[in-house]
Amino acid sequence: MTLVRKITSLFAGAGMLVAASGAALAQEKTVKVGLLSDFSGVFAQLAKDVEDAWMLALEERGGMVAGYKVEIVKEDSENSPQAAVQKANKLIKSDNVTIFGGSISSGVGIALAGVADKEKTPYVAGFSIADALTGKFCSPYVARTSFSANALQAAAGAYWAKKGVKTAVFMGPDYAAGQAMLAGFKNGFEAAGGKVVLEELTPFKTTKDWGPSLLKAQQTGADMIYTFYAGSEAVQVVKQHAAFGMQEKMPLRGAMWIYDEALWDAMGGVEIGAIHVTNYTNALDTEASERFEKAFEAKYGRLPVASNAMGYTNAVAIFDGLAKAIEDNGGNLPEDKSKIIAALASLKLYSDPRGPVHFNSSNNAMQDELYMVQIVKGDDGKPHHKVIDTLPYGEDLPGCNMQ
């Protein structure tokens, strides 16, 4: 199937003449949507989660938006900006997608924002949380359905300071996202009276041993360690933190990635009592989240996790944004594709599983709902999430200057 598509697209240039004459014959109107995500590499699991959620959202809409049949074209950005740019070009130029989304990595997200702006094709980031994406690199063709690094971590920082935590060590990978998370946490934590006593950034992807960093953290005698690690790095930090016997003395806190459900097995069982901040958990009991949970479980036979919810909102925003743009344009896709992003950004997603979320019109960035979650032992003896608090969304960093 796909091979046939490749080969026909190889000769699309020559084929265009033929296609033009035959175009009038097409009865059904279709709109192509690109799902470009990190299906291989360290974020492969997250990308799969996003894809599952997309398919659910599409199914709920009967595969249609505003009279157009939706065709999803899936591509792998390999957790590499280079590959992402190449695949985005393919989606835009070979597959002629109207809009694309789903990305995970922040680096990929920023690269894609550049392509979207250049090619004037809408792009909706699903998981790429770099502040710059809706700051310095914002564009009328770019929107984001995830929180920004600063907003999440500033909110979490403020929360912990107010809870009486006076000193904290920040640990994270030494690359853009880690630095952004550190800055965000520090903003919120120190504004609310806390003090970051050690900023420990470890070489990204090359660190094999967190022992030196954990020892350094111990030296400070801080009240807690706040971290931003994901995937295999998260597994190793959590395991080593426990192995150094620090769980009692200096608890490890962070955002959802550090205690991601997908990592629990690899951690050799997650620590009961661990607390982290998130924008979704299947322990939420709002009407919208219950509905999403049931629908997801019916389709996949398991409970959704945060990355599923992120992917779901991403897909809903794209599909409903498309529908709105088509309806506003009298039943046809608008020529000017920035109108799609404008339509999307005007959506009010009051019944999103994550809570009542909406876009900030000045930079097309979603303003999220945030929850503090604790891992508890459920009645079945297995670990579960429990919402222990809700907290106000922090602020996106300024820097967007959209013309």
Binding site: L201, T202, D209, S213, K239, D265, A266
Partner: protein, 295 residues
């Protein structure tokens, strides 16, 4: 002061893990002139197979005992049936074998990705530490007992390798071969079996390192490449083919990585490479390498 001592322990732990990898690589190079870049693949094979055995039996110790056998056997087959025949057919051992095993590393990574992730849907795996080693001991501060175990295994392997090489007939053959490859042929030993066995043992040790690391770190697709680079650095620092150099090279790399991370984090990314580059510029044969024979 204790901070420094515990950092030394951490450094020693990392050194020993790297040593388990590097010792095989350097002896293989010394004896057969093969730079086995697929060594990282054997490390992965040990870790992934260890995970499978662990899942099946629930025992760390059984995994530790059985899993290294897979890379051991694969290593023997690879050397005996693929690499050696190619060398005999006139392929330059030095360059072609490095390239070939490099391809093999890519192949293994792809294969593992296909089987474990694309087919089985497993991304992050880990082997549970055995009871007794899963916790920490109080030696001034809490220190993970498993790290002490790694240090012990590393030192033990170093001792065994040393005894094997210095005190056994096979060891004498291998030592002679590292010094002068032609001499082994002249000794009337079945060189190919010796070669393949040494190759296999090296791969088995890499697999052992994989299982051990699988319980301390996490088992994932990038682990092989991640460990390969410091291992290569060790082998070059110590001098290609030098066992003593390998041991001290491991200490240098492990300590550099640990101490730079503890004291000068800004340099952590560079430190090892700086040492490597400086050494190659000023002493290309390594700290314990023989000075290249004249001409």
């Amino acid at each position: 002061m204790t901070f420094f001592l515990f950092n030394l322990l951490n450094g020693l732990q990392l050194s020993m893990l790297i040593f388990l990898m590097a010792i095989g690589l350097t002896v293989i190079f010394g004896l057969m002139d093969i730079l086995n870049l697929a060594h990282g693949a054997f490390y992965m094979a040990g870790a992934y197979f260890g995970y499978v055995v662990f899942q099946a039996t629930g025992s760390f110790w059984i995994a530790l005992a059985i899993a290294p056998l897979l890379p051991l056997v694969l290593g023997f087959l690879l050397q005996y049936f693929v690499l050696q025949p190619l060398i005999d057919r006139g392929r330059s051992a030095h360059l072609d074998m490095a390239l070939l095993t490099f391809g093999l590393l890519f192949f293994t990574i792809g294969l593992i990705d296909l089987v474990f992730f694309e087919t089985l849907g497993l991304t992050f795996m880990s082997i549970d530490k055995p009871a007794g080693l899963g916790s920490y001991v109080n030696i001034g501060t809490f220190y993970p007992s498993y790290r002490l175990f790694i240090i012990a295994v590393g030192l033990l392997v170093a001792l065994i390798v040393w005894l094997l090489l210095e005190r056994t007939v096979v060891g004498a053959v291998v030592r002679a071969g590292v010094d002068d490859r032609e001499m082994v042929r002249a000794m009337g030993v079945n060189v190919y079996v010796v070669f393949a066995s040494v190759f296999a043992l090296g791969c088995g040790l890499a697999g052992l390192a994989g299982v051990i690391a699988g319980a301390e770190l996490s088992i994932n697709i990038t682990m092989g490449v991640q460990i390969l680079i410091p291992t290569l650095v060790v082998v070059v620092l110590g001098g290609l083919g030098s066992v003593k150099g390998c041991f001290f090279g491991s200490l240098i790399v492990g300590m550099t990585e640990t101490l730079s991370q503890a004291y000068v984090p800004a340099l952590a990314l560079f430190a090892t490479y700086l040492i490597l580059a400086a050494m190659l510029v000023f002493r290309p044969q390594g700290f314990f390498g023989r000075t290249p024979k004249s001409v």
